[in-house]
Point group: C2
Chain length 126, copies 2
DNA sequence: GCAAAAGCAATAATCGTTATCGTTATTGAT
DNA sequence: ATCAATAACGATAACGATTATTGCTTTTGC
């Protein structure tokens, strides 16, 4: 992979505000610096960075979101505003081995996601 | 909600082979009995049944899958063949409360999904 | 500097899903 | 049984997110 100014800008955007932006959001933010960038370039580079393991795609149905933090952590989706927050506190899943026995195959990963209402939306509701 | 022959057929298909079919798969299977059914009708009824809580949509990025079993259980996605299997063995998640404290909001649900290689694909690899 | 390879913008195309619209089936009251 | 209200229907257009294509432009190793 060659060096690219646009890809740098995309990484910079992902690092600056870690709110797990969508491709569109990344596009809008990069455009502030490079107004000529194309949405296709954003998609292409996001896919490329994912393939390289430099960023991670968060499985959000309908609209994908991207996270530059590839360390092991969980995500909390606010069902009210749609924002995504990180959860770094340690979580343990018991019964994992039984699950593997039940399916008979090999479980390579277990993903946990939280849904609910975030602090701000909770406060706004009162 | 009025009674409908097509909706019955869709439920029947979902009940017959519980392999968590996609809308397309449901469409193909219902067509064996009702060749004139439209894909739109399938989507419409699947959405309706979901809204009624009669079936459940499995969050599979890109292509949704449907499950007539609304009881609490987990899903295992085979990354090789794409099939989805049920996991009924009990799982417990520790650290849940800490997560809620960390985000400050209210966690209403936690979803767990497994990924890996199913029994068949594992056997085929040897 | 120069040529090869990767990157780029613009845009067309694709995919899964949803909305629209004119017609048909189901229902509950007569 | 009839009839009007309304939900459901099929066909298809539209939609939003993403991917592929194409012809041109940077970047890089030499």
């Amino acid at each position: 992979m060659k060096h690219s100014t646009k890809r740098d800008a995309i990484c910079e955007v992902l690092g600056a505000k870690r709110d797990h932006p969508t491709a569109d959001m990344v596009y809008e933010r990069v455009r502030e610096k490079y107004p000529e960038i194309s949405l296709a370039t954003v998609y292409r580079n996001l896919a490329q960075l994912c393939a390289e393991g430099k960023i991670v795609k968060i499985g959000a149905t309908g609209r994908e979101r991207y996270d530059i933090d590839t360390s092991n952590h969980t995500h909390f989706f606010c069902d009210e505003c749609g924002d995504v927050y990180d959860v770094f506190c340690p979580l343990t899943l018991n019964g994992y081995k039984n699950a593997e026995n039940e399916v008979g195959g090999e479980i390579t990963s277990a993903s946990i996601t939280f849904h609910g209402i975030c602090r701000q939306c909770l406060a706004a509701k009162k």
